[in-house]
Structures are given as structure tokens and as C-alpha cells.
Assembly symmetry: C2
């Protein structure tokens, strides 16, 4: 593995399953991988008699709330779910900046763990296992459970599969590996509710999101010989669609997924003089360099920045900056 | 297997690989599974010295044309590619109605084969293997190649993987099986060009399609307490978007994928008094029964019909018919 760890999954599993109480901390604005990892691990720990909760800060997004459905919830917003936790563990995140509002509770743990697949080059926790080569954190949890001799039940299998599907974009993204398919095969053998999960994940789009995306796409612009596609989301447009600004979060993929487009850009009007620009590239353009010109950052293929101008002015400035990035 | 066959894959493989010449016949308007199956099998047969071509009637759609890219093409429109074929084989289809314009050439074969995964209850060919439980026909081809001792090269692996991805909607549809993931694992081990295939399949949408979808979705209607979503595609709208009517083929999925929607309907204005209605349902509604009321047909979850009325009249009639189908 290319990541960092100071303990094996066997050792981390042993410590967790022998603990009296554990609080799991998924990253803020949790996604399917964060919640899936927490629910799978929490279910397994509870089955072995460990007092365990996953502590979240906000409401779990509608589309992934099903992961923690059922009679026995794993996720809670109650900071006092466990008064004196033995272990507090970052799950699918690392660092207090990823758990705002919950730092103080995290510090209450006697010991601190981290299980993650995001890129980082240091970790100061008591026990950590971080591997960016893993398709999802749920796959690490799967291995941890196997290494701990846990019998994986259907709820755990469903949670692990959901995290795998969300983080790989249903086996589409470049983080899809041979191992991802191999473990998917094993999860099917465990009776994963594939059809139901797919309907909930992929066929449960908020109609307001669809409305907002359609309206924004109807006014998209394609420039630079078709290599750059961009769309604007004004607050007026959001209101007209009866939507929320967050319903535009997926819009950038529609732009990038068009043939010939190398860079996709979405401008969001956060306030009259505050414009958020998001960038995606398809195969070669470095959009982190574009975002950096405006004080932003990110990766080569996904980046963002905030520009303190109105949307039209911000757009004009970004268009100039982006022209160089698509010249090959 | 729940399908029908009069020979094992070993036996069919033996007959094909020992033939002097073979023409493969994918279904009309070929998709990734039809072309992927043909290219994988054709490549393998040629490697063993068999004179082989896949005969197509029309241009292969842009999005899947990459399957047959490269120096040695497998697909041809030339009816005289092989003057006296020993074997003519339906691939991913069965019956002359699925190969219009090529029936006469099919009949030239001394022997006739069929390899397919579509539902049928009879087959009169010399050798046939039809299994609707298979996720894709490329998976049957994979098994045939393995049963025949063929060393599967990267081109074959890519073709098989592409067919599997297109027919399962990237491991999303209900035909996604444990075996689909298991064979995907094996294809990764064979060096499948996953990232490249994904960009070509999923990130190469014709901008005209995106334009037309956005324009149609911006005027969608949601009725029956959110259970029915519908959109109209007039010829005027198609023209305004500089698109073709076929660019609306994917639109119905956007409607169905919204939360709460059980039935999605797309109306296409084929001519001033000819309206095509397409139906999809999500979990329980039988849309084949709705289509049947207008002389159409299909499956429980996907159906269609042609109504000889203008679009508004057709819509009003369909709306009445569909109301009963979403009552639970």
C-alpha cells in the first residue's frame, strides 16, 4: 500500500473490538462512503458488545439516509451519546478541520484512531491506517472486519457496498480497481440488496435538482473550440426553480461529460459580490493551477475557488485564465 | 440456466473455431453489447485463422465506435465481405426481424448459429445458446472463449468489458449479478483499459443531446402526486437545439431517476399526427399494460407505443390511461 499506517488492520480491529466504548467520526457533509463505513463498523462493534455510536453534526443527506434506516440507528447527533468514550475514531476523514463542531467531543476519547482513504502524509493518532489506493473507506472496513473474524451480515454488506458504489461512481471513476470488483463479488455472495440500493442511490434525485440542472444547462456556454463548457447558477435561478444552491452540486458533471469538453466550470452566486467557481477536467488539463490563480486549490482534475466579484465579472476573469489550460 | 440451447459453449466454440469462414450478425441499431460481442469473437476467430467479419447495416453510433477502432477492423458494411460463408451467426439478437437488410446474406450461410441473452422461447438454428440470465452477451462470449481455450488479449477483454458496462448501465441495473463482478475482476486482471473506456462511454455525450435534454426537462410535467413525470419532444424543439430526434433517447431515464417518480413518459413528435410514447417504471407499475392500451408493447418496466394523434391529444389520452397504473 502507498498510504501510511502504524498498525495492521488486525491490530486496529483487536483494539476496537476489545474496547468498552467507541465513537466514530465521519467527515462533515457526510457521503455514502463515510456513513456506510460508520454503519458497517458500528453494527459489527455492537454485535460484539461494544457500546458504539457514529456522531454526526448535521442531518444525513436524503439520498443516503437509507444506509442508517431500520430499528437500530447507528448515527446520532447527540454529543452525549457516550459520556466517556474509550476510543474516538476518524472514519473516512482525518483532522479536526473535517469534524467541525465535534472537535471537543473527539478529544474526550482516551485513545484516538483514524481509518481513511484520503491522501495525507502525516497522522498523529494512537492507531491509524490510511490508504489512498483503496477505492473507498468501506473497503478498508470490509478488510478490517474480515481480519477480525467478524461474520459480515446483510446490513454490513449493504453499507459497505453503498460506500463502494458512491465513491467509485458505480465502478466508473479511475479509483475503480480489480479489488473493488472482487470485493463486490463477495458482497453479492453475502446477499447485498443491489437493486434496492441502486434505486435509492441513483433513481432518487430530488426533482428540484433536476429542475435547476435543466435550467442552468439550457443556458450553458461552450467556448475554446468546444473544450470548455460552463454554466452559471444565480440566486435568482435557484429561486425560480424552487431549489437550493446545493442542488447545483452535481451540475458540473453534466458539463464535463459532454464529448470534446476538457474543462467544465460552474459559477455559483453565493452573494451579490461573492462567486464560487468549481472546475473539473477530463483527461489532461490541470485545473488546480487555474483555481490557484484565484487563491483556490484542489486536485488536477477537480478544484475550486471563491472570487469576490459579481458572477459576470468573475466569469470573464476565469475565461481568460482557463484559455491557456486547454491548449495542448 | 433458464434459457434455451441445443449445444454447449464448448461445442459451439469448436464448430466456430474449426470453420473456414464466419459472418457475425449483431442486431440493428447496435449497442455496446452487440458490437463488443462481435469484436471479441471476431478477433479471437481471426487469431485462429478463421476468415471472419461482423456485418453491420448502419454506421456504428459514435459513442461506441471506439470498440472497433484500430488497424484491424472487425465490422464492415460490405455484404460481400465473405462470398460463401460457412457459418452465419446471430450475435446478441435472434431472428431476421432484428437484422433487416441483411436477411438475404444471413441465409447464404451453410450453417446458422445464435448466441444471445434476450428472452425468446424458440430457436430454429443449427446451434444456439440463449441465456436471458446473463448480464450481457459479451459474458457469454467470454465463457465461450474460455471454454475454447482462447487466450483472451486486451482487445477482447476491452470489448467484453464494454458490453458488460453498457448492458448493466455500469453495474447499476437489475441484471447486475455476482458473476458480472467476478468476470469484471478477471477482465481487470487481463489489463482492461477501464479509465479510457469510461471516458469514451460515459463522458462523451453529444452536446446536442445535452442541449435537447435540458430544453425538454425544463418543460417537464410532474403529475399524480409526483408519481408520474413526463416530457415532450416536438420537432420544433429538436430543430431549435440543432439536434436530432435520436438525441432524446436517453431523456426518459432523467425523468425516471427523480425521487418519488414511478412512471416516466416521453412523447416524441414523429410527424404532425404521429406521436411516439415511451414508458419506464421504477419498482412496481406495469407499463407494458399501459402501452398495450394503445397497441404497443414491451416489458413491465419499459414499453412504448405509437399513437396516431398530435402530441397534445396523445398526451391527454396517455395521462388518463396512466393514472390507474400508479395507484397502489
Amino acid at each position: 500500500m502507498s498510504g501510511i499506517h502504524n498498525a495492521t488492520l488486525e491490530e486496529i480491529g483487536k483494539a476496537l473490538f476489545n474496547a468498552k466504548s467507541v465513537i466514530l467520526f465521519p467527515h462533515e457533509n457526510p457521503d455514502g462512503d463515510a456513513i456506510g463505513s460508520c454503519v458497517a463498523l458500528c453494527s459489527a462493534l455492537r454485535k460484539q458488545g461494544v457500546d458504539c455510536w457514529a456522531l454526526v453534526e448535521e442531518k444525513i443527506p436524503d439520498q443516503i439516509a437509507f444506509i442508517d434506516e431500520g430499528s437500530e440507528k447507528c448515527c446520532t447527533k447527540d454529543p452525549d451519546c457516550i459520556a466517556e468514550p474509550e476510543i474516538c475514531a476518524y472514519i473516512d476523514c482525518y483532522g479536526e478541520s473535517r469534524i467541525p463542531g465535534r472537535e471537543e467531543i473527539f478529544r474526550r476519547g482516551q485513545k484516538h484512531f483514524c481509518i481513511d482513504h484520503h491522501i495525507t502524509d502525516s497522522c498523529g493518532e494512537d492507531m491509524y491506517y490510511i490508504d489512498p489506493d483503496e477505492s473507498s473507506t468501506t473497503l478498508i472496513i470490509y478488510k478490517l472486519l474480515k481480519a477480525s473474524g467478524v461474520e459480515i451480515d446483510r446490513r454490513m454488506a449493504n453499507s459497505i457496498y453503498t460506500g463502494l458504489c458512491t465513491d467509485t461512481g458505480n465502478f466508473q471513476y479511475t479509483n475503480t480497481t480489480q479489488e473493488a470488483h472482487r470485493i463486490a463479488t463477495e458482497l453479492f455472495a453475502l446477499g447485498v440488496d443491489h437493486d434496492d440500493i441502486m434505486v435509492r442511490l441513483n433513481q432518487s434525485v430530488d426533482p428540484r435538482q433536476t429542475m435547476l440542472e435543466s435550467a442552468a444547462m439550457a443556458n450553458m456556454e461552450i467556448i475554446c473550440d468546444g473544450k470548455v463548457a460552463m454554466a452559471c447558477v444565480s440566486r435568482k435561478l435557484v429561486d425560480e426553480c424552487g431549489a437550493l444552491m446545493e442542488h447545483a452540486d452535481h451540475l458540473i458533471n453534466l458539463l464535463r461529460d459532454m464529448k470534446g469538453v476538457e474543462i467544465a466550470i460552474v459559477f455559483k452566486e453565493k452573494a451579490p459580490e461573492i462567486t464560487k467557481a468549481s472546475f473539473r477536467s477530463k483527461t489532461y488539463a490541470d485545473v488546480s493551477a487555474v483555481a490557484a490563480q484565484f487563491g483556490g486549490g484542489g486536485h488536477e482534475r477537480a478544484s475550486g475557488c471563491t472570487i469576490f466579484e459579481d458572477m459576470e465579472t468573475a466569469k470573464a476573469r476565469v475565461v481568460e485564465a482557463v484559455k491557456g489550460a486547454v491548449r495542448q
